[in-house]
Structures are given as structure tokens and as C-alpha cells.
Amino acid sequence: MEDTGTRLTVVVDQSVCVGGGQCNFLAPEVFTQRDEDGVVELLDEHPPAEMAEVIEEAIAVCPSRAISLKRQ
């Protein structure tokens, strides 16, 4: 963690999620869909820094703008 100097924090807004599932396809290590309603669920809130690009892609394609990423 020290060598990259960046800590990623993924935030999802379950209240707006429509369960498109694209985040799950892109990064199944980070995102899944709840069994009961298909709504996004985080598997890894702090994924490794090298996943930043694929998470940015999930943000770009999310139809309900339910995902955001903080870099600290």
C-alpha cells in the first residue's frame, strides 16, 4: 500500500441501483448483486490500486450513477 501511495475506497448507492449488473461483469471481485433484488453489493470496499481503471469503467457505464470512487 505504501508503494503506490493510493488507497481506493469504493462507494455504492443502493437506493438508486437498478441492477443492470455491468459492474458485476467488469469487476466480480469488487461488485456483486444481492440475491433478493439484484441491487449492487460491495465485496471489497478497498480494492487494490491497480483496479482503479476498471472501477472507473464501471462508474462510466452504470445506468443509475450508483458508484463512486475515492482515492486517498
Partner: protein, 410 residues
Amino acid sequence: MSSISEQTTATDDLLDFPPARAKGRPIDPPLELAEIQRSECPIRRVRIWDGSTPWLITKYHDYRKITADQRFSADKSRPGFPLKNAGYVSKARTFLTMDDPEHLPYRRLWARHLSAKRMEALRPRIQEIVDKYIDKMLAGPKPVDFIEAFALPVPAEIMSELFGVPMEDRLRFLDLASIMSSSNSTKEDTANALVELRAYAETLVAAREAEPRDDLITRFLEDGVGGGVMTREELVNSIPGLVTAAHDTSTAMIALGTLALFDHPDQLKLLQENDDPKFIANATEELLRFVAPTQTGRRRLATADIEVGGQLIRAGEGVIAMDNQSSRDPDIFPDPDRLDLTRKEARRHNALGYGTHQCAGQSLARVELQVVYGTLYKRIPTLRLAVDRSELPFREDLVVYLVDRMPVTW
């Protein structure tokens, strides 16, 4: 009131929508759309079948703004709503034409049963179905109609298993659905088709009530109707639209995607030589972007005065947001009219819509198309058209762009 007079004097110059596709360029959206998109004034009124003049949206960001904003209503019963065709009027109200928050519980019921994980779990079965129809094609005579031999039965069989619609009923079902969707159908045609479709859906639901099975209709009866999300009548009403949505779109993507690859032998070769699931997934997104088969656009009605791309759209005015042309916006996709299976931003397309109404079956579509594109051209490497493409009967009258017959050989 000046806006009304402006509109009245200007209607003579308006583009009749949809314009025809250019001869010799069957996969490209009508060229007029690209001209409008790439002009100084990309948001314009067009004239549709009933004489009304909604706004046409072809720019990527404008498309996304409209489809993500609930003030642009999908409720087709609102006065002034830009209807797709005469049949669209009489279709029952389903979650497809509801706005949030009313829409969301229905949507989540579908998302539950069509989630990426659940659809991913179907991949081995989908692979078996795809292989079975390739085996059949290879064992049969050639040339053969690719639609009848492959592009139609593959999604049909997957859908039949998922929804529990018997394969033997699907042809009549599809005929009726096509009547509902066609701009050539009269009001009487669509009314008759609707009666028969409803009766069929009613029979299916009644059969699952009597004898539950492991299929979507049974699960919707249990969770949806049983769970108080939807009424039994709403379930019956939603079946025709969803079964056809699962069908036409996949058939179109398989047939027209294949045709697009025939036009781009270098890209076809990439698919034949590459086994990397990530590449095949990206190639699938690029084919979705390039073909984007829903040709009538997403229809909405403004419920407030809203500025989009510098144009004020007033409450009560209709908009038509184009999946196909907005997925070819050069601001987002460099050299947008080129098919490039390695395109980095491919999956940002609008082929499956955007916002709360983005395709509920998209995970199924992805798995299905990835299996087809990843398998077909490897197993039949010399697959090609058996007729001149000018002989192909394209269907510009349907909501989903299709080709009725596509003779191929190998």
C-alpha cells in the same frame, strides 16, 4: 406563444422520422441522423407517423441526460407522448412505461431473476444450445437461411427454457409480436394481435398456477404476485413484451452482428483467433455499439421545462433519444463508424439504453452474445453470405431492426 408559430411555419422542412437507411449501408443508422448529430444544431424536431413533432436526440451526453432524468417520463399514456406506432397505444401498461419511484420495485424483481450471476450460471447451458444449432447447420444442406437455422432458434430456445414458453408455440407468438411492433400494421391488426397475445400469456400463467415449474413465470408468480409487487394481471400483461424483447434483440444482434463481421474480415479474423474471454466480452460490446438494433429510439415526454444540450425542451414536448446514433458520437467514440473490436470505450454504448429503463435482460444478452460470437466463427470459419446483400430483406418498419432471411453457406 411565438414558439407555437415558429413550430407551425417550420414543420414543412422537418425530417420525416425515421428516414430510410442508405442503400448499400444496411448496418449504419440512416445517414441523416449522423448529419444532424454532427451539425451545429444537433437537437431538432422531426415529424413522426401521427404528424406530431418530437425532438430528436442523437448526441451521446444529451441521450444520457434524458434517459437518466425522471422528469422525462416514459409514461405513454400522457397526452403528447411520442408513440412508436399505432400498436404502441393499445399495449397494456407495464413497468416499461412507468416512472420511478413506482417503477423501481418491478425493475428489481427482474434484476433479481436476471442478475449477472444468475445469467453467468446459465453459460454452460447456453453453450450447449449454441453448439447444438451449429452442429445441426453443419449436418444440413447449404446454403441455409441463417435466421431460421441459427439466429432465431438460439435465443428462442434459451428464452423458452427461461420463461417456460413451449418452443412449439413460439412462432405464432413471434408473428403476433411482430404485428404489434410494425409501423405497417393498422390499428385493427394490432388490436387483434394483442387479444391473441394476452390470451396466450393468460394460458401460460394459468398453467404455472396449476403446476409450478422451474421457470421465470413461476418465480414471478411466487415473488412478484405472491410478494405483492405486481398483480396477476400485470404479470400477464408484461409477458408478451418481455418475451419479444428477449427474442428480437438477440436475433438481430446475431444476424446483423454477423453481417457486420462479414464486412470487416480483419475483425472477424480477430474473433476467430482469440480465446480470451475479456477480448470476446469487449468485442460483444463493440458489436452492440455498432449495430444497436433498436431503431425507433427511446421515447419520453418532458414533464418540466428542461434544457438539454443548449435547447430548451418544454413540459409536454416529446423526445426520441436514439440508441444507435448516440452510440456513434465522435465526441465519445473516435472514428465512430468503424467497427473495432479492441475499442477501449466500446462498452459505453447506449445500445441497451441508459437510466432506470436500461435493458433488464442485459446480462442474459451479454452471456448469450459472448457465447455466440466466441463460438460460431471458430466452428464455421468460412461462413459467408450465399446471396448478394442487396437481396436481403431488412425490416426498417420494426422497433428492433431485423433481417427476415439471410442465406449463408460455408
